[in-house]
Amino acid sequence: MNPAPGLVESLLPLPVLLPLLGAGAALVLAGRPTAQRTVSVGVLAAVVAISAVLLAGAAGGPKVVTVGSWPAPLGITLVADGLSTVMLLTSMTVTLLVLLYAIGQGTSDDDARTPVSIFHPTYLVLTAGVADAFLSGDLFNLYVGFEVLLMASYVLLTLGGTRSRVRAGLTYVVVNVLSSLVFLIGIALVYAAVGTLNLAQISVRMASVPPGTQLAIHLVLLTAFGIKAAVFPLSAWLPDSYPTAAAPVTAVFAGLLTKVGVYSIIRTQTLLFPISPVADDVLMIAALATMVIGALGAIAQEDLKRVLSFTLVSHIGYMVFGVALATPAGLGAAIFYVVHHITVQAALFCVAGLVERVGGSTSTTRLAGLAAASPLLAVLFFLPAINLGGIPPLSGFVGKLGLVEAGVQDGSVLAWLLVGGAALTSLLTLYAMAKVWVLAFWRPVDQLPAEEPADDRAGPAGPDRSGRSDDEDRYPVLIGAGPPRGPGTAAYSGELLGTPARRAGERTRVALPALMTGATVALVTVGLALTVVAGALYAYTDRAAGDLLARTPYVSAVFSQTVDTRVTR
């Protein structure tokens, strides 16, 4: 496919614009759930199609649009290059599938109190923010993109306002506001140093800034992005806040938000500060710590959602490792890994939502016999789980192999250490996944440790070892608050909660909600499809990495568009 000239440029602002307009429309259509769903699904499907066209169009070199034809330092530049389009297409596909999952969950929960009128507009705003961050060619616009998506994420995380979500949401908001402030400080420093915020212009002018100043600015920006990407030691907020949110919200957060941070790290490393041995070493050590500590955390957890949150942190380490190598091979593998990880992690969180639906809990201490209760669910968990663990020939293995190869090529002591750490983390991840598999799916129901059967039932202050669901019993369960536990659905929960455990001896098959399952199947399939197209994708990410490290394609594409050559001050 080779789009007509000019077409790509005119489509470029749409991934940001369409979701924003859609959000407005969805807000107007509050109270008409069907119309709202149609709008959001339609908008996201259109954005996915546009992203595919952009991906094809950017193959010939970065495409640039100056919004409103304002010249560079004053106006905003949108740039679609190899990295941003592949990120955009992957994230938008995942967003669309998770939206379908969320609709499925909301529909089958069939709860009149569900505040869908908030969910859909906010979800679209989140999408717009993510797209804006990926396409931005301007540091301040990147900040605005971040803020748009963060603002939406605050709302989505605290949806329903239950006690656990308010508690987790407060931590999340405060941490992210702080990281945004650090980012803003970085922007002020950049502007003071080079007098522009256009990424291409910064990359040209930064060369004349003294190395010490460069390093200071660089580290400030890395700190800001490190918090957002959840790189150790700035990752503690993530496993604390993500598991409390609704399953689809966690899935989309896990897939996208940290990856926007990783994307920003890649941009900063390649475009703004291409030669930075100190920062590379810092990133290497941070990557090692993130991988190993995250994986160890995952093993220690009992709750499936918390296990997944820790593996999410852990695998951010792989991407940072690839970026820190600063070689085309390492960067290419890192981009490949980002694409793989977005789909796999989102799929796993969707499966966790289904597990919660079927088993009534996500705690591995209370789940058993799921493989017998629902073989399809078992398959849906198993495939992304071993993919995450890096079993050949799946895409997780390809990505890890690429990173290890790049590390070996680099040959430094630190790189070898990281190669070892990567292999260890892969095994630890596999162990964590196997633990969940053995306990929740394979363990026969009668081996479940004896607990008072009344535990799972809806009732005031139902004790939960994870301590998170206790308040959801007392407050109305709003969209996707997990299993229906509210008093109104007590009959339903009596049917499902805690009982597959006790009843699986009778081999009851639990029916899965159709749309949720369909969306999860699609996500898992996309993850597997990445394995099939791994060769082509790898070639693509390698080329994107080459362009990123060469820098000239990006810079010259921006400069040919923006006429401005005068110095601002």
Binding site: M151, V155, L170, L184, A188, L189, L197, D455, R468
Partner: protein, 155 residues
Amino acid sequence: MTTSWLLLMLIAVLYTAGVYLLLDRSLTRVLLGILVLGNATNLLVISAGGPTGAAALVGRAPEAAMSDALVQALVLTAIVITLGVAAFLLAIIHRSWTLDREDDLTEDTEDRSVRRRLARGEQVDEDELDTTGCEEVSDTDDDRAGSEAGAEAQA
């Protein structure tokens, strides 16, 4: 680049006060801390724009004498964002207040159960511990009426 000493001192003071407020357990103070930090950062952005000059209106002053309009635009955006976040935080603090009648940062459930386990000895049944969540409310009532010493004693 020249920048004003006074402005830098002010930024330093605001950062200090902001960090101090942010580390408080009271949520309202955390919010105030964020606002102060936000304003400190806004001043920093302004000072990144160089020395002050005439208003950036065409025709009023020669172009060289004007102050940088871009940083002002940036700060305007940042102020709007901070305002939005502050409004959201206020709403969520209010929600926290309606739920628990407390303005304090609620502790992590895991932390709480670990601490209680330590206090009572390891062998106590965890499930039993988790049902005692309501005692938190009375704890914090003392806290609010009393002093920070109370909070420290709890910890």
